[in-house]
């Protein structure tokens, strides 16, 4: 029976993935959970869920199969954990962006939405919704929450004093941004996409 009193370990990342507390005696974890989770994210992002194999994952994460399963339980497990972590980080980044931008925050956010960090891989969550939402309710739910947060951020940017009034417009704009991600994935050159986006922004914000 461990004492459970001392404040535990270096678990600063607080992902809700593994319930295992690595306290007391015994060999400590040799990997940083947030780090390997991000590695898994990159692979899923690049290849999609079905096309990613266990070997792809473990080798990218630098984990043995045992460590993998003991830490995340299953392929589904890492996937959901990675997806949640992605959503959280992405929303956070957009929030900061909108707070830092003083003039024309709408254009700034839209441009960022349409040119995600992932580059041609697009938005991880949009990809996952397309691939999995119809068959995995949990993914659909994460997707809906994510989209909602993005829309709220946009509404806030459009009309800081009365965000509710801009909700429809915000949704339309986010749909527009999402659509451009598909254009990008199909190989349409970035300049053309930027042009399209600029024209749309002009129409939307008179």
């Amino acid at each position: 029976m461990p004492s459970m009193i001392k404040d535990c370990c270096q678990s600063n990342s607080e992902t809700q993935a593994s319930a295992k507390a690595t306290c007391g005696p015994g060999r400590p974890r040799a990997f940083d959970e947030a780090e390997v989770l991000d590695a898994a994210l990159q692979v899923f992002w690049q290849q999609g869920y079905e096309a990613t194999s266990l070997d792809d994952l473990t080798s990218a994460m630098g984990l043995s199969r045992s460590s993998f399963y003991s830490a995340f339980g299953s392929k589904q497990g890492v996937f959901i954990a990675a997806l949640k972590s992605y959503s959280q980080a992405a929303v956070e980044a957009f929030k900061e962006l909108s707070e830092q931008t003083s003039d024309d925050p709408v254009a700034t956010i839209l441009t960022a939405l349409a040119n995600p960090n992932g580059g041609p891989r697009g938005c991880m969550l949009v990809n996952c919704i397309t691939e999995l939402a119809p068959h995995q309710e949990e993914v659909a739910e994460i997707g809906r929450q994510h989209l909602k947060r993005i829309e709220d951020l946009l509404a806030q940017a459009i009309s800081p004093n009365d965000p509710a009034s801009a909700s429809v417009k915000a949704r339309a704009l986010s749909a527009l941004a999402i659509g451009t991600l598909t254009l990008r994935k199909s190989g349409v050159p970035p300049e053309q996409i930027s042009g399209t986006l600029d024209a749309a922004i002009e129409l939307f914000t008179p």
Copy 2:
């Protein structure tokens, strides 16, 4: 040496899939190629490429493995054939729609784009671009052509006398429609999506 003179068979469908000419003596094909191709399309549409197994396909198409491979060559083979056939049919349908509609053709086309026959499965080509375009250039190319055709149709509807001038607007609108497909897939109720679309149309067509 067959004579090669008589006009061949009942091959009215003209899909570019199988090079096999079923002329001369011998048992004729027991299935309609276009029909089974459509069956394959439905499965791919519902499940995606990776998630669809050979057994899924053959059982949906009502074909034995031998017939399947002799007719289509590979899983990739049917997939590409089905995708091309889908694109052709979809573009044709939109063209007819835009020609039949006299007043507000833009709204009509957009609404149709955002509410595809596939229902919650969305647009087959958008799904495939998201899943495969980054790794399969052929799919990307088919996707680009498809999108281009849709955009041209929209530009024509927006500005019948000078379509070129409306190309950017057309692309923005198609991006908007594509985005709403993702919203739909994530489970956003259709009424909300319609509302969003109506608002956007109003902004775009003053």
